[in-house]
Symmetry: C2
Subunit: 115 residues, 2 copies
Amino acid sequence: MDDIIRAISEPSRREILRLVRHDELSAGQIASHFQVTRPAISQHLRVLKDAGLVTERREGTRRLYRARPEGLARVRAELEWMWDAGLAKLKEAAETEQERRQRGPMDDATTSGRR
Amino acid sequence: MDDIIRAISEPSRREILRLVRHDELSAGQIASHFQVTRPAISQHLRVLKDAGLVTERREGTRRLYRARPEGLARVRAELEWMWDAGLAKLKEAAETEQERRQRGPMDDATTSGRR
DNA sequence: TGTCATTGTTAGTTGACACTTACGTTAGTG
DNA sequence: CACTAACGTAAGTGTCAACTAACAATGACA
């Protein structure tokens, strides 16, 4: 799982995912969208493939890549708690913050056990 | 924005975000959950703060941290296209794949950028 | 004031990683 | 078979980040 997060942390790899999200593209086509050399893209594709984020299909001398929805779903499963808490807490946090300012700063007892 | 993605790519920092998601914790309390030294956690907190993912509040000699919902929402805004395409394309991709096998492999004309 | 407690900061080291160049591999074509 | 096209792989390099140890800063308290 950590490999998946690390894979999408690289901007070029996220851009690759955007490219092969809808269309199946060859390695050369993908590389033509970037400034870096083709082997660099090839290594990025390797990382994405090992992470299960893209599929590789050989067709003659070319290799066609495509985003793998199941892999992207795993990213969501790992990260969705952030906005689950985020969106749900967005309103609540604002209210709590407002209440806190009216009450004044918390004393020391609040940090230990009870809120 | 790249800093935000890079911030959450580190497992320890994601764990910190989980800790301060609901409760406001001091740096020492956060550090006590980890094996690494306090300075390491302090640096992680710095990265999270610079990325806008946590807020820092001073109370005496302590510093209290809390997750910032707006920051987490920005992560979602950047990454949600993945599962938007992912879930929507999960069915479509299967159908397209099936159709492709009936049609046979793509010919060279489909490779747009050539020559 | 002196001392403790809590935390941030700096210096330095180690390891990961993104990149390039050169080479190897596989498939098609005369 | 010789040649080319499309890729991947290996080796080497430079940069960045995560960590530890030592130091500094700030506030509380007798």
